[in-house]
Amino acid sequence: MSAVLALGAGACGGDDGGSGGDTLNIGFMGDLTGPDSAIVIPPFNGAQLAIDQYNATNPKKKVKLIRYDTQGKENQAAALAPKAIKDDKIVAMIGPAFSGESKAANGILDKGKVPSITPSATNPDLSKAGHKFWHRLVATDQAQGTGIAEALIKAKSPKKAYVINGKKAYSIGIGDFAFQAFKAKGIDTQRDQIDETASDFSSTVTKVVAAKPDVIFYGGYYSEGGKLLKQLRDGGVTALFASGDGSLDAKLVEAAGAKQAENALLGCPCFIPFGEQTDPTLVKFVSDYKAKVNANPAIYSTEGYDAATAFIAAIKGGNETGEKINDFLKTYDTKGVSKQVKWGPEGELAETTIHLYQVQDGAIKWLGKSDEAKPKG
């Protein structure tokens, strides 16, 4: 990847002093080398792919993607944002990838009049800060927790539901939204919380066995989700198990075991083109991505690609300053590889979609949008 970057920089004639001449700088901010980089490198690759494709057309203004590696740390994001604005004179920013670092950097970017599109930060509060240059390409945890719960209600018409979540902010948040969604439909719902650092969840299993739920929603990340799912199944719980984007990873299946993970339902505001695609745009995207990265598209790859594509469209239209690009985004309405890209006034997507995935025969498969998908089990 660094080789590609170096080539790109060389071709532009060493314009390290920032945007200007025939090149504009766009930033990508997120955890590129830290503990959760597995969900940030795919959107980075998606963005880089879109920009390489654009530069290959020999446009008047080329685009250079600059990496800002926060390692997921909020103070890093707050320190890197001013550098990106002052030194590198970026005209747009993809990211920050996570919600915590977004809270730290969004205000700085907004003051610097740099439009930003995050491909993956899902905290509902981000759009409430009143920033005029901020956008996101995914639905919130609220839409996600509610959407998955409603899909479960539709698929299984449960009488009893059980919500389990971890102790991290994301885990509690999405658990709350799912819990409220079940309650709102008058479903008898109980709840328990697990400690992510522990390995013995037998007390939670005991509670679930006693409650005999028809469906289980777990809010949290894959490594604990896998352990929990294994212990639930070994404890004789057969209810349909569902979770959100934090658990949408093949490592969930590995940690739970293929047999125990079978039929686990995973929702995400992201679109991952697993398996064979029929839509020609997607077929091309998947093959281009594979050729460039030497891996299949993963979580938020399509969103990273669409974020870069939106900025490229603005630059193609002759918008070369942050403010002009931001104005252009207000009118942007295009079908991307991930979804229809169109923003409302707060920078939230005009229309949000939750996609459902399911573990079938030990692999994660895409089922479709949450209101249409028909899960097994």
């Binding site: 390995s199 037998s202 007390s203 509670k207």
Partner: protein
Amino acid sequence: MLNDFINQFWPSTVGGLTVGAIYALIALGYTMVYGVLRLINFAHSEIFMIGTVAALFTVTEIFTVTSPYTGFAMIGMLLLIMAVAMAASGGAAVLLEVVAYRPLRKKGASRLAALISAIGASFFLQELFALQVIPNLFDRPEGRNQVGVPRIVERDKLFEIFGATVRLDHVIVIIAAVVMMVLLDQFVNRTKVGRGIRATAQDPETAVLMGVNIDTIVRTTFLLGGAMAGVAAVLYVVEFELTVYNVGFVLGVKAFTAAVLGGIGNLRGALLGGFALGLIENWGAIFFGSEWKDVIAFTVLVVILMFRPTGILGESLQQARA
């Protein structure tokens, strides 16, 4: 609420005894070293971690287990994995003593220095396994991720007790732990080396004057405590089927708590403390939810220490009699 308690009491008891057995076995290592050296061996959690990695290595690299075993093949396999894990953990504990504690002891350093040395050894071992051992041994470049262990013991339901399902893996964990603890107790109380351990615990200087070789006694103590952690590691791998470089951290804290609860320095206290802690955690979770487990367990610990400052059984290794 009361209804919940009645429904969940027996399943919680089974779960509490299973995890309590593992706490108790790890607690033995803390309690023995404390009894003999008055030292909290904070690197003991890493001795346990080394045992889980040795068990994983035996299962995946030496034998490539793909499906669970049954009958005598299963028992043989478990004994074999235990032998490897006990050797690895026991050996690591002896090496730890030689490298991290003996030089300090010989120079008459304070106990605080030994404690810092213990914490340093703990970090060193964690990072060594995350950065070198796990990536190289199992060909996993992301050494900090947890590694799954294939199933060795099938989750067969053996019987029901008041509506609680008791599975084969529960029975194996509890019985193996109790057997190991009885063996260790007999060893300390009936053999010549065991007498040496008790003598050193009671009064090291007099023990030396009576012809006890203190280095041998300390080495044996670490070896035995490490071997028990090795057994605990195998039982953990059988029950939870995973390991990770910091797997010992939370369990170590819990096991140390169990040792204090039962009476630190006391072998039978470690057994009692382990089971008590496992049961209190799981029973408390019925009332308050699983997120309150630790709060309940530590509240009970504080209350017990207020009334019995030396723990439930109180007496220490030196006074243990056959």
